[in-house]
Amino acid sequence: MNSSSYSTSNFIDIFEIYRRYCDIRSSKKNQNSKEALTQLLKLVELRGQASSLYNDLSKLMSYLDLTVDSGRFACFYDFVFFMCRENGQKNITLEKAIVAWKLVLNGRFRLLNEWCNFVEKHQRHNVSEDTWQQILAFSRCVHEDLEGYDPKGAWPVLIDDFVDYMHRIGISNSCSSRIHNRSSSYEDFEDEACKSD
């Protein structure tokens, strides 16, 4: 099927999946692309338990040059969501989302830790694609001190709640703890990565 370094027969590696994903995305959005994505998802599921998913993703991330083009990163970001989907469900579980966020948004979203803590404590439902995507937009246009956030905007309710929460606990307070936590957050991620190994 492809020249994967892995020996399993029906195994396609993450690079190949990503290549196909990007192909589908770049072709015009229509019914076909949706079907193609479903097909691809089935193929991904054939790989079996995504035990090494986060390893794969971080491998892919270090391989791709995502620093230059924000559009390319957005594509990769969406791809992460795509890969986290299970059993044909549209939404992904909270646990997966948090690990994935910590992986891909590290260094890109200044409130990443606050966000993950908040979601962990206050959200019980799965994370929808819309919320996933809007967090990227949020990380891009809203500053650390929440400047740039428009309460009248169309942010998903979860993000509104997050901002409320941040205002409640006091931004200054959280900022200092953020700096304090920075190193530990990285360890968290390492921990996660180890567990998934």
């Binding site: 939404n91 929808s128 819309d130 905007g153 509104d160």
Partner: protein
Amino acid sequence: ISTFRLGVNETVRDVKVSIDANDSIHYDNQALYLPGSEDELNDDLILVNISGGFGTGLKIIGSVYSTFKNIENLKAASCVSNSDYPKGRNEMALPVFQNIVLMLFNNALELSVQDTKDNRDEFGSALYLIKLRLNEELEKCLLCLDSDTRKTLMETTKEILDSHISAIPDRGITMLMDGNGVEDMWRLYALFSRLNNAFEVLRHALCSYIMDEEKEGDLLSSLREFKTSIEMMLEESFSRNDWFTNTTKDAFEHLINLRQPAELIANFLDEKLRVGNKGTSEEELEGLLDKVLVLFRFIQGKDVFEALYKKNLAKRLLRGKNSSIDAEKSIISKLKTECGSQYTHKLEGMFKDIELSKEINDSFKQSYQVKSKLSGIEMSVHVLTTGCWPTYPPMDVRLPHELNVYQNIFKEFYSSIYPGRHLTWQNSLGHCVLKAQFPKGRKELTVVLLLFNDAPKLSFQDIKDSTGIEDKELKRTLQSLACGKVRVLEKIPKGREVADNDYFLFNDEFSAPLYRIKVNTIQLKETVEESASTTERVFQDRPYRVDAAIIRLMKAKKVLSHPLLVTELFQQLNFPVKMAYLKKRIESLIDREYLERDENDPFKYKYLA
């Protein structure tokens, strides 16, 4: 009689001033001219430069003084008519005067505030009058002063008042509102209008006054009266200030929505529109409806009202109990202008159904099926469009054979006119006229159910088996027949409640003065339960209503920005919704791929066909 001590340096003189019943002031003119008044001024001296003469100025200070006699530090007052007074003097004198006036004013205020604290109940409204009078006096005083002084004086007065305003409203508002003190309220409004934060305070006070209003008894009419009095106050005392108008509107909305207004109004209207509501003429009724509709505007859950109103209307229409179709239609058209045609669409459908049913019944009677196959019983059927009418729980009933035959023939007849339409019988809504032979005379009975043609005595279980009516409903029916006012059945053993092992007998002894007797079904707290469940159902429907409204809008506009969509939604939805709730519905629709966000602008939605 008041006494002023006027002084320049060491020269001090008392001036006696009196104000007679006609408010004119008497004083010793000569006493006002003090020797040495051209000399340096000190704090003891007040020089008032009044163009209008002494009178006004004295009256000012005089009334302040006489109101607050206990202010001891009213040190001096000197009024000089000064056509020939050196100009330079004024500039020095004025600050002194200002200080004194302000001090007086301040003291007066402090005093009144103190007094309210000591003596809340009696002094409440008096406090206002004093303050207002002070204000009036100050006004006069200001007119007499030059513009610079006026300005400073105003500023300082404002400051003083500002520091006191929070103490003013709590008590006084209630008194003024309760006592309908339109004029005083107007004074207060005028006074406050000059101050910075005073309006906010007054607004709050007014708001909480309205919200705390407690009404008992005939809620609707007292609410209506309350509303009228507030309206009047608004008109007379607040010169229809937009701000206050909005405040009262919001507060009133809050007040009204504390007490299930939808239910109240729906039931009130039902009462008025049902047969037997004698004594109200058409015009009176019309006026009443208009007034009630004023309250209707404040209902937040207009959808709840719709459901309840519909339920009541259905009862009236099906049992032919409308007192006046004109009045019914007039309400519908009023609701239509209030909420748009969407709102009344189904209600109008109900009227249409009733009219159509009449025609169908007429032609049914003329049809050959009836003529050839049926005789004896007259049947009238209402054909109701599902969706327009309230939903009724289907009830399984084994109908007497005769009725079954009739129903089948009607069904046959109906499908010959409207092929493809499906008829479902709602027997629980039916009622019938029954002729029965009692030993004491022939009576025509309007009852819900009778099985006693074949057997004189039946057990509860027998009746249940042969009709298939569920327990609760059957018990209610039997209770109406055997334990109500009109006892055509006899229950063994006797008692108010129907138990499973009771027996029922045909009551041979029954007699009644009227030929036609109506047996009312006993209402088992039904109305409360019923409206609660109606309300419940309305609440359950709300997410779908929001979704439908979003889809309708998006379908029409294809692309719509978030703020626009939300504004439209707030306009269209006739029940209160929170922003977060709307957003959740929008997110859910995005999730279900009815909508998507614009790739370039996440605050814009696109409709996905």
